[in-house]
């Protein structure tokens, strides 16, 4: 129903112009990100202290892959590596504008080219002075944790030992049958079954309702929906490449963009860790070590484990 007013046809430009556009775009991005890193140029907003019940922002990251890690007791765990690539705060929606109860911050992830996005999409990035992003999400935030649009967010925002929730679009499986989609048992392979091995079987009670209830599990499109994995522990944070090592597996394929936020689970709150609030600023705590490890994690520079 919406008519795209701006469409980018490469045919309208000569090849030199196309190259020039690409080069200028890259330079513009670099300039914009560099500008935002300088705290003196743009006056930052007031930073409040952490209070009981305040919620802070999350991050947008890219799933790199999985790797094994070992604890100091010799147990092996699998971790997913998530890289925070060019994460910026794009818009701040104060309490009145958003829903009247909580404030919200719109955060964007990976940089993309502006040539294939609409003007409407580009508008909010222009206001923030930030290159356009592939994914934007809103984080519900308490009033004391709002951040000025344009501030970059880094992986050191999360600390090892903290628990996070990761939301991403699961891998799309297409149109799938009832056995794969809902885990039905199907029918036996032999003993006289005529053409019925993976079918759903019965679809409901019978004559009394005389209908099939809404929400009946049936074959259909599976995957490509937002799924959240709760309570994932952070084992390691690499501040040089902005990589988080998160316990277990995470929905989504490799190189997909995800949304990470502090856990909502009550038993895994991070009150003891005191993570940076409202976020990690390089000028405040600029001398963090390149790798931050959890206490239980075995670091490979240590000598071999002797279990005694």
């Amino acid at each position: 129903n919406c008519i795209k007013t701006t469409t980018w046809f490469e045919e309208h430009l000569t090849e030199d112009n196309q190259e020039y556009m690409r080069k200028t775009m890259a330079e513009e991005y670099r300039r914009q990100t560099a500008e935002k890193l300088n705290p003196l140029k743009d006056e930052p907003w007031q930073r409040h202290e952490w209070t009981e019940g305040s919620r802070r922002v999350g991050l947008v990251a890219v799933k790199l892959g999985m790797a094994p890690i070992w604890t100091k007791t010799g147990e092996k765990h699998a971790v997913t590596m998530l890289q925070v690539q060019d994460c910026h705060v794009i818009k701040c929606l104060p309490r009145e504008e958003y829903d009247g109860h909580t404030a919200a911050l719109v955060v964007g992830g990976k940089n993309v080219s502006p040539f294939h996005r609409s003007e409407h999409y580009m508008e909010m990035f222009r206001n923030a002075g930030v290159p356009p992003k592939q994914k934007i999400t809103t984080f519900k935030v308490s009033d004391n944790a709002i951040i000025k649009p344009g501030t970059p967010l880094y992986a050191a925002h999360f600390r090892p030992g903290q628990y996070v929730d990761v939301t991403a679009k699961s891998i799309g499986k297409g149109f799938q049958g009832v056995m794969k989609r809902w885990g039905f048992k199907g029918q036996p392979a032999s003993h006289g079954q005529t053409k019925t091995h993976r079918r759903p079987g019965a679809s409901g009670p019978g004559g009394d309702p005389a209908k099939v209830f809404k929400g009946k599990k049936m074959p259909g499109r599976m995957g490509n929906i937002y799924v959240t994995a709760f309570g994932l522990k952070i084992w390691r944070v690499n501040t040089k490449y902005n990589v988080l090592y998160v316990n277990g597996s995470v929905p989504g394929h490799r190189n997909c963009v995800l949304k990470i936020r502090d856990t909502v689970l009550p038993t895994r709150g991070s009150t003891l860790l005191s993570p940076p609030f409202p976020t990690y600023f390089t000028e405040d705590e600029g001398d963090l070590a390149e790798d931050l490890y959890d206490d239980d994690l075995f670091i490979h520079t240590e000598p071999s484990l002797t279990l005694t």
């Binding site: 070992w70 092996k76 190189n255 071999s304 279990l307």
Partner: protein, 285 residues
């Protein structure tokens, strides 16, 4: 390997210093051989520099002769960010600086000492033939097989597991195949390794010996149909256990077009060289 290369580097550096010193001393002297002509009594005879000694750098030649890159460093062909592989490689190198992982192939005899809370003396030592090397990156594994008290035992060890205290190569050799899983169906004498075997001395120069042993198998049925071309096994003596008719029947499962499939090509030579140089650089630091 790591410790050797580091010491070798220091040795090479000291040799280089000596060579530099010698060169510095010789730079200010003329290299042209001038004989003292009889007649020039006023000038002293020109100094004839001695012939330059040829330094045969045996230690350096040894280290660089056999460039071995462990197969788990080569990343698989995937659409993954190379940053992920480089970070894993850094961790692998950090672990290799602590634990010396020697060069070995499937077919070599290894002894692995691992920390075990249930073992006597807390350290468990297992000796066996390496039948398979699998996995990439930090999760690389190798399977050791041995027959103890007439019972075949296979243990899959993770190369980068922090509980491993020591990996020793008792006998370094290669076999005709990369995967010796068929030893499970071979006669037990081919999988027995003496647990108190002494390490066979192997000179660091030269090629790794190839053991062209053809193994005798137990009567069929086997755990896998090893005669089929998909396994491509060279190391079994098929003439003793299979009739030519059975061999022909096995060729029915041949897929000769796979060798020409261009999409399955994965040329790792350039990647190997790059990663090898990177790894050697990091290990020598």
């Amino acid at each position: 390997m790591a410790a050797c290369s580091r010491r070798l580097d220091k040795f090479i550096v000291s040799l280089r210093l000596l060579r530099n010193l010698q060169l510095q001393n010789e730079r200010f002297l003329s290299t042209s051989v001038c004989r003292w002509a009889p007649g020039n009594d006023s000038e002293p005879p020109k100094f004839i520099p001695p012939s330059k000694p040829v330094i045969i750098d045996k230690t350096q030649a040894v280290a660089t002769l056999r460039k071995f890159l462990s197969p788990e460093f080569i990343p698989p062909r995937q659409r993954t960010n190379p940053l992920k592989f480089s970070m894993e490689r850094k961790d692998m190198i950090r672990r290799r600086k602590i634990l010396n992982v020697p060069e070995f192939y499937p077919g070599s005899i290894l002894a692995v000492s691992m920390a075990d809370p249930n073992a006597t003396g807390k350290i468990n030592r297992f000796v066996g033939i390496c039948i398979q090397r699998g996995g990439k990156g930090l999760g690389a594994t190798f399977v050791l097989r041995n027959i103890i008290n007439q019972q075949g035992v296979e243990i899959c060890y993770e190369l980068y597991n922090p509980r491993i205290q020591k990996i020793e190569v008792l006998k370094l050799e290669k076999r005709l195949d990369d995967n010796l899983m068929y030893l499970r169906d071979a006669l037990p004498e081919y999988s027995t390794v003496d647990p108190d075997m002494k390490p066979v001395p192997f000179p660091p120069t030269g090629e790794v010996p190839l053991n062209e042993l053809k193994v005798k198998m137990r009567p069929k049925p086997w755990s896998k149909r090893w005669e089929r071309p998909k396994f491509n096994i060279q190391g079994i003596h098929f003439d003793l256990c299979l009739v030519p008719k059975q061999m022909e029947h096995a060729q029915k499962w041949a897929q000769p077009w796979q060798e020409y499939d261009m999409l399955k090509e994965y040329d790792t030579s350039k990647l190997e060289q790059q990663i090898l140089s990177e790894v050697q650089q990091e290990m020598s630091k």
